[in-house]
Amino acid sequence: MKALIVIALLGVVAMMSEVFRFKKLLLPLVVVGLLAACGLAIGDWNTAIRYYSDMVYFDNYALAFTSLIIFITLLWLIISKEYFASDSSRAEHATLILFTLCGGVIMTAYSDLSMFFIGLEILSISLYVLASSNKHDLKSNEAGMKYFLMGSFATGFLLFGMALIYGAAASFNLVKIAEYIQTTSAHGQTPMFVYAGVLLMMVGLMFKVSAVPFHFWAPDVYEGAPTLITAFMATVVKTAAFAAFYRLFSTCFGDISGFWAQTLAIISAITMLAGNVLAVSQTSLKRLLAYSSIAHAGYMLMAIVAMNNISGGAIFLYATAYSLGSLGAFACLHAISKYGDESIENLRGFAADNKIWAAFLGLIVLSLAGIPPVAGFFAKYYIFYGVLQSNFAWLVLVAIVSSLIGVYYYFRIIIIMLQPRSETASVLPSLTGAHKALLLISALLALGIGIFPAFLQGLLS
């Protein structure tokens, strides 16, 4: 809770900086504030307090995800100095990022559907603006518009679902809803419109996590938005959305999992297959990462399908591994895209120029592809393990096949990076200190988590 207050206040301070003219101090202030928030969240570990007549509930699950998204935001800030460079927009960009984060924290910690909705809207509306924050770029405007239109549509579904659930359970509170569903489902008396409500909420959430067939916005928005915002969306926002998804379904709808698990399993299978297959033919690294993030959403959905005692830890570990990997990959993308377009071909000759950094990028790619001993492998391992335990063997088979397709395009990055540059190419991808630092941190963390995965996973089980 303290972390949430700190972030919200920080957002207000960021707005004030425009008026009181301390914009130069803003970025250091944000970093210090976020570090404090992260520390406060970790400090609350094992307290599990319900605040404001049970509107938010900071249990270990919420605290773990809160710390994670704050930490990822901090990592993201390492390469994002340029986004806050222009004097005229620094304050508003910082404010929007902080409010997005604020919404994300609420989405990990809500204990009431109304709070969930507020968190989601704080996050989404800030994000609509951020996606189109490159004002003079047509594509960025298109991205913001597209995201806004389709996002509000999905929110409508979500709200409708909530209304139906409320109609049945007569409460927004997650615990009360869970009790209601437990008693009614035990006697087989769950009214039909509860199921409809669950389905509608599922649709809304699947839009947010970009699961197929609600993913169509993702590649366009990811491509159009400024690269740094895409990185933010693909990591922080996605993690928060999954935290919310899992929290809702594990708390409330576990007792009627027979109704939705099969559907979700199919969605998950289609998502990872489609994401990976569509990524294969991409020539733009940015679009490739967009499709890869869709595919990863499919894997994370598997944990929700499995829904057993290790799923919470598994989804946390996966979100961590995926965010670190994506952030590292986006750092490289951001570095090379300064020298031209975002084509994957720009990576040609990367290894010859930046030996060590190419090795780190290689580690990150291995992590995303899920090869041991890097974090991504263990994340996949826990997910597969959980799903097998819940007897969805066919889903594991699909996941294996799609992982193989994943290897195909992830390794294209390694192959291209190792090839000598063609003579005609004039671009010289080189990395700034900030990019190097982020690559180093994310690669070493991915390796560290890969060698000692038990800690992170054990936090939540």
Partner: protein, 484 residues
Amino acid sequence: MITLLILLVPLVASLACLMLDQAKVKVFALGTSLVSLGITVYAFTLFNNDIADQFLVNYWWIQNLGISFKAGMDGISILLVALTNLLLPLIILTSFRHEYKNANTFYALILFMQFALVGVFTALDGFLFYVFWELALIPIYLICLMWGGNDRAKITLKFFIYTLTGSLFMLAGLIYLYLQTPGSHSFDIDVLYNVTLSPVAQTWLFWSFFLAFAIKIPIFPLHTWQPDTYTDAPSQGTMLLSGIMLKMGIYGLIRWMLPIIPQGLAEWGNTAMILSVTGVVYASCMALVQNDFKRLIAYSSIAHVGLIAAGVFALNLQGLQGAMVQMIAHGVNVVGMFFIIDIIQRRMKTRKLDELGGFANNSPIFTILFMVILLGSIALPLTNGFVGEFLLLNGVYQYSAWMALVGGLTVILGAVYMLRAYQKVMLGEPHERSAEFTGLHQTEKIVLVAIATVIIVTGIYPKPIIYVAGPAIEDILAHVKDIY
């Protein structure tokens, strides 16, 4: 402790290689691989083949999932570790005449490969085994990708995805197996050996494991990655692949399949046997018509390991003993053969059989050493190949006379294609460029003499191998025999 040392020396050396400068790295890599060899020899002096898991190290890795870092050696493991650590210095020596770009990365990858291979052969925890199994794939992939031939990107990716497919199915199988263990689950090999499985589960597990091992070995019809990869890889990569890496597959069969799913084997072993034997004949016939010397040896390798796999599927003492002997023999011989090809190719800039010929008089010592290695590969009595193939065919014969008959064709066909190659390369009309073929350099002599010595010594006196592996094989068979 010794196990840990054998694992850590190559790992540390591999990291150290990255920091050294290009000129010194060769000697350094050779030095550390000799240290590993020394430790292995020392381990042999301490080895008591009546005790099951020796030099055991056992730490928790991921305790809440029952995954431990458990490694140790029995007779089977120590022989394969010895093979790895014996071949590594030789393989590094073969690279002394090459000037590779980014040499320190190259040697770092080779030593890292050694670490992973030793890990595979010593791991006594299912999960650890899987991690090492995958770990071995990355360095060899990069070696082939960075220093391979022209088509390398496509071929190596096919190789990687092929093998990863098998591995992932094995992973699913391992997790399933793990979920069947009693109590709070465990990946410990002793626990996995005692899991009781339904016949249906055994069938599924059989195929998931078989896929992984059969792709690695490779068994027909899952071999299609192999000829291209072997041909396209740099010489040292080919040696690592054929000399040691495919032994991982056979080792996996013996250690992780036979004792765990004996019923699955009883039901499907026959299919596997037929596939293995088919591969023997198929690959031998393919070898007969190759013009590229390296590709010829690649196919001959499929034929040889097909017979080894058949020996394992025979599920009897002779078959498994033969597999052990032949794994060592094939490892040594095939490295020798690929080195000979490397020597020829570096001098003549070609390895097409019809562009070679008439070297026999240029370098008598090369001619003799080539002949010895060749005789080893075609299993002439008094060479190591003979002992292995004799035991293997004996084992397969006990299983089925027909299989032995078909499998035995490998001896005849092997002699045909190898002697044909020898004739085309060494004898006949000297090719116009044959005069360019100069004598052997010092390092080349050392490697070839060492290999020829091993071929003859283990051919005349193979007893130590059989003696060391004996009790361990009987342990494995005891698990299999419980079923019958």
